[in-house]
């Protein structure tokens, strides 16, 4: 075991002073750290510039590493696809025929739906994506659930905007650098999404549980409305998230709610799409709930 520097480094006055000033400096470091920490707990948005700059500096590294891993897994997966190709081909043909039939049905429903909507004169919001990027990393060392995506304010991303994938909702932006942003995932405890059950449309509240699952509770007290396999979609209440985006699928019931797993798995989705808030006025309001992030 190496000898400790010890309380007294000999008779050298200079070395003694050196130790003493080093001790004062570490005390100062502790004090500065506590002040910074209190500031970031009380007023998280005060560091948005620093955090944005840090994201810009670090996200390209994660992005490049991500490219490497997707290439490698793609090669392995691609080789695997050749194995048993004839069986796969036959199966895919069967599925394609089945999907073709479903598509014709769906087209009929779509046209009927358009006619009915025209009859009701529902105003259709035009929803153009702000930007689309890759999920390049996550906060795997922290109990908070964040993901890093490879688009930032240079593409128009702003704090508070909802992020989704083709499969379903991912979360909302809480830090925006110029080329990367940090997303508060729907599985984070601090992310509360107004939602409803797709079957029946009963309003529920979705809260992350911090371990990759989501807690869903009905807004009205009463009989537990959930069933295993229920799909939870956003309700559009609050105006931040667009309505009817799938969030999660119920896997287990508990006393008065249920546990669900997110439909869009951030580690699998190919693209994360940043959308403008459903009601543009919600962005100003969203800056307040977003401030509970760091």
């Amino acid at each position: 075991m190496a000898a400790s520097a010890g309380p007294r480094p000999g008779w050298s006055r200079r070395a003694q002073y050196g130790l003493f000033f080093s001790f004062l400096a570490v005390l100062a470091g502790l004090a500065v750290g506590l002040i910074l920490l209190i500031l970031s707990l009380v007023a998280p948005q005060s560091y948005s510039v620093v955090r944005g700059a840090a994201l810009d500096a670090t996200a390209p590294i994660s992005g490049a590493l991500r490219e490497v891993t997707t290439t490698v897994t793609g090669l392995v997966g691609g080789a695997g696809n050749y194995w048993d190709a004839a069986n796969q081909n036959a199966q895919l043909k069967r599925e394609r025929a089945a999907l073709m039939r479903r598509m014709v049905e769906a087209r009929g429903i779509l046209e009927e739906n358009q006619q009915l909507r025209a009859a009701l004169q529902l105003r259709e919001h035009s929803r153009d994506a702000v930007a689309a990027g890759r999920v390049v990393g996550s906060s795997f060392e922290s109990s908070r659930r964040f993901a890093i995506i490879s688009v930032g304010s240079s593409e128009g991303v702003q704090i508070g905007m909802p992020v989704r994938a083709a499969e379903g909702l991912i979360g909302r932006v809480i830090d925006a650098g110029s080329i990367a942003s940090r997303v508060l995932l729907v599985t984070d405890r601090a992310n509360i999404v107004p939602a409803r059950i797709l079957r029946g449309g009963q309003p529920v509240i979705s809260t992350g549980r911090g371990d990759g699952t989501i807690d869903v509770r009905p807004l009205e007290v009463g009989k537990n409305p959930f069933k295993r396999g229920d799909v939870i979609v956003t309700s559009g209440t609050g105006g931040l998230y667009p309505p009817l985006v799938p969030i999660a699928k119920v896997i287990r019931l508990d006393d008065d709610g249920a546990i669900a797993i997110p439909i869009a798995d951030p580690s699998r989705v190919s693209f994360a799409i940043v959308e403008p808030p459903f009601e543009p006025t919600a962005l100003a309001a969203a800056a307040e709930p977003a401030s509970e992030g760091p």
């Binding site: 075991m1 190496a2 400790s4 520097a5 010890g6 309380p7 080093s22 001790f23 400096a25 570490v26 005390l27 100062a28 470091g29 502790l30 500065v32 750290g33 506590l34 002040i35 910074l36 920490l37 209190i38 500031l39 970031s40 707990l41 998280p44 560091y47 620093v50 955090r51 840090a54 670090t58 590294i61 994660s62 590493l65 990393g137 996550s138 906060s139 795997f140 060392e141 922290s142 109990s143 908070r144 659930r145 964040f146 993901a147 830090d175 940090r182 599985t187 984070d188 405890r189 601090a190 992350g208 549980r209 911090g210 371990d211 990759g212 798995d265 580690s267 509970e292 992030g293 760091p294």
Partner: protein, 175 residues
Amino acid sequence: MVRSALGPQSARLNKGPRAGADYIPAATVVAGSLLALLPIVSATGWWPDFGLLMLLGWRLLRADAWPAWWAAPLGFVNDVIVGNPIGMSVAMWAAIMIALDILDRRTMWRDYWIEWAIATVVIALSEIAHWRAAGLMGADVPFNISAGPAILVGVLTFPIAAFIATRLDRWRLGR
């Protein structure tokens, strides 16, 4: 001396510390923080805090790996890279340096198990602080699915960090 210089294995002669030996420990702590940039998208946050593990590995190995106050800027780098609330690691790592300095004066002897026990306490306190800070920021997750597993994983991976610090120490000093 002369005989060994004439022998085939003279590699151990004239070997002092390597260039930049004073900065290698701090650099490895930053490298540990940079591991947070690996493209891992995880549903849970149970991975250990690699920067803290390297800091502990070095600090428990030797008290003069870096001047104690370097812990504060190293902590700032860790906060910014990992995405912690800024100030968390600054305060925590400075406090760890002070606490371990005090501990160095109190302990009469040290062995590997005592160091592991000290590391366990420090890692646990650190994870609990992160857990409480997350709770204050609106993410009040139960202990047994967030900080608990993270403490376990961190404590079990500490020996790896300690091993890396020991080997790097011998390498940087040219031993």
